[in-house]
Symmetry: C2
Subunit: 478 residues, 2 copies
């Protein structure tokens, strides 16, 4: 029998020197077991060092006061916060799943991107997979309690081995939740079942979609529901329209149909309502933004709109910085209002920087994923990332399934500055899984890992809620 | 920074030699990270031995074939099983929580007791506490989405330190789920808030109940819901009647109102329906039983009924043993039809054993918890326990919150035989927490820990479902 070498004591607060029963942990102090029983069971108590506390990246700013205060308030008002979320999810349909990119500036904690078709499940800690399995059971029950078979539709890029690991992880979670899973691809190059290696996570079988009347599936597989892990940047495919099975998330939530500005407009209102409950300035969790709707980078149309909005936003951020005594130079992020994958993104510190872009810069901004042309941009307050680990910048990404925060990871990047987008194309980040679930330790201090992750989970859920309301508005008949 | 010494790789199937990032696990093969990045991040890969597989007690019978077959069938039909449970929980209200005692005979896996007011949460592994927190959020949402404050009403025995640890664990789970929790006691000796030590799990404050009109609470605390952890052996207390707040589980599910024979009668039907789905003989999961309704041990009334039922049941079990080629001597368990806590229980191998009981034996059988007199007994097929660990007998106990199996433990006892009740008064058992959640590994073999625990979780949920239907029938107006 193996010897268990350490004690994961984070949750029950077991003291150092807990008892081990030939390698199996007992939640028992040694003294509680009568001597004859100890001998009969061959109990060999040995002291185990308490594991070091779970690691979170170092906050490299002196301005941690506001964040600790925010975390403290969230812990103190947890019952109100959780109740509020419960009532919100009675009014709004919770997305099947979502991931939210956050920035933690120490003085401000804000979402910068909300993904309704999250990749990256492979980056979560193995310890949270049971939470994912349990949460996906809730999600499936909500969408279609009758489900046994799930058709998972991934992105088309079959050569990105990290993305393939994500698909393999999603498939594994669904299977452990008791689903029969087939992977149907929209990729026209795949015209027969094709086995591809998922980079150490086993292999995946991609199958072409097959439609029969109003039912979608793959050859010989008629699923009860469709789970999209494809963000539909280039539109809702014909083959998925007018089908009988429920599709989660709904086709309307594809990126072809979403605008970042719409999302942050709704988020602004959600953050305002939440801030009232917790008693904070909503700016502490809400990035300011502006929109330019008539941009043509190639034709240099709309440059003035861009420049004046950049100037206005920098001014507003500067005055907030003054209010809080923040000695940082404000910056804004200019990005395509539709689309994803970190293309078409620019960091701007001065309005003059957006006039007179050279050809290379304009080309970079002009198109996003799948060749979509950028015609509208959002100018968003830049939230610097002050979390770092071994001098590398870290940006938290939080995952939700149904209404549960199931975990997250840090996107760690060495090559970039604290004011740059970490999800840029080719960005070689290293994911660092959160070591504990995002479940708070009400007895612990603000700033300890579970409580920091709880705060991340709260802000991420605000963004998830905003996405839910946003999609509702999109789905409403015109 | 600490070094993480091992890899909990049970879930993502990460290969040995995964990468560690200064003590933080990356779900990355080392080769996937470019050399400059490795150096910049001070990545120091080191090979880690795969942890030994999680431990489950040894099955000390040659007759494991039927069990492995049962586990295999459950794995193969998992989508049907999970879907069936989902549809059942649409028709029947899922109990807030429950624990089920199982016996594993290798040739048969059956529930022997279903507790709707489970103690023993302190015996669960710390790793499953996040699952408990997540599941209790579902349970609260179902009972009362509006809840912020929960009044937890425990048993009255304030001197049982293991039970106090259970109450402390429940309180901790509720708090982490975002509830405000007060503990209100029915114990008349407690007439002011009283702090008691929870045996290393912090301290508990017990408060006397306070009723105002139709609202129950404690002084200054008006909860949204009442969570009972008191099995109401001696009846539904007046103070809890006619109150406005929802009570979970409902008063009607107290032991004063339940009968084991009713439970197993309903279970028999549930097992039959389930067996059809999986294609097995329901006997493999269903203990046979009979009832004697007019017993007075002190007056020796009803002995003939008992003896004839024991003989009949032993005969039925014997013929099943013959059918399956089981070379064991059948036995039955005689126990009080109402009540709990392992009092009033007898192992019988021959009908003659129940006639001519001596005074001591009769006294032992005559009363159960809180002095309740035994007037009716259930005679149940004995299911031998063939699981053992270091020669000690082990009996699995499975915990559910809402419709989720959150974990379990083995009740390990050295002093008793495989055919005896392990939950007897004074039984000094050692709990061994299940090392993995009860989430299956569809790729793994039958008999591996996750799949064995999955089978336990399925049978336990069948008993939970039976309890739900049973309580429905109890609650129906007469």
């Amino acid at each position: 029998m193996q010897q268990v070498k350490f004690l994961l004591s984070g949750y029950l607060g077991a003291p150092p020197g807990a008892l081990f029963f030939k390698g199996v942990r007992c939640n028992f102090p040694h003294s509680a077991i009568p001597v004859p029983l100890r001998e009969k069971l061959h109990l060999t108590p040995f002291r185990v060092p308490l594991e070091s506390p779970p690691m979170i990246p170092h906050l490299t700013t002196a301005l941690t006061g506001p964040l600790l205060d925010l975390e403290r308030r969230m812990l103190d008002r947890m019952p109100e916060i959780e109740r509020w979320f419960r009532t919100q999810w009675q009014e709004h349909e919770v997305p099947f799943y979502a991931s939210v990119d956050l920035r933690n500036a120490g003085f401000k904690l804000a979402p910068v991107d909300t993904n309704l078709f999250p990749g990256g499940f492979n980056n979560l800690s193995p310890e949270v997979i049971p939470l994912c399995v349990q949460a996906i059971q809730s999600a499936v029950e909500r969408v279609c309690a009758d489900a046994r078979g799930v058709l998972l539709i991934p992105e088309n890029h079959t050569r990105n081995r990290f993305y393939l690991q994500n698909v393999a992880t999603l498939q594994m979670i669904l299977r452990r939740a008791g689903m029969r899973v087939h992977i149907g691809t929209l990729n026209p190059e795949i015209d027969r079942p094709t086995t591809i290696d998922a980079n150490g996570n086993g292999s995946l079988v991609l199958e072409p979609l097959a439609k029969q009347g109003r039912r979608i599936g793959t050859n010989g597989f008629d699923p009860c529901m469709v789970l999209l892990n494809n963000d539909l940047s280039s539109g809702a495919p014909d083959i998925l329209q007018a089908i009988d099975q429920p599709i989660a998330p709904p086709l309307a939530s594809g990126w072809y149909n979403r605008k970042k500005s719409h999302h942050f407009h709704v988020y602004h209102d959600v953050a305002r309502r939440f801030a009232e409950i917790v008693g904070i300035d909503p700016w502490l969790i809400d990035p300011q933004f502006a929109v330019c709707g008539e941009i043509d980078f190639q034709e240099r149309a709309g440059e003035e709109c861009l420049a004046s909005n950049v100037a206005m936003l920098l001014h507003r951020v500067q005055s907030k910085y003054r209010e809080y005594g923040i000695d940082e130079k404000p910056f804004v992020i200019v990005k395509a209002d539709a689309g994803t994958y970190g293309m078409g993104i620019m960091t701007v510190r001065d309005a003059a920087d957006v006039t007179g872009l050279n050809r290379k810069q304009r080309n970079k901004m002009a198109v996003v994923k799948e060749g979509l042309e950028v015609t509208s941009v959002i100018i968003q307050e830049g939230v610097p990332t002050f979390e770092s680990i071994n001098e590398a910048i870290a940006e938290p990404v939080v995952y939700m399934i149904d209404r549960f925060v199931v975990g997250g990871f840090y996107r760690v990047h060495t090559e970039r500055g604290k004011d740059e987008n970490l999800n840029a194309p080719g960005a070689q980040f290293v994911p660092l899984a959160f070591e504990t679930p995002c479940i708070p330790d009400p007895g612990g201090p603000a700033g300890c890992a579970p409580n920091r992750f709880y705060a991340y989970g709260v802000v991420a859920r605000l963004a998830q809620l905003a996405a839910a309301i946003e999609v509702e508005q999109l789905s409403e008949p015109a």
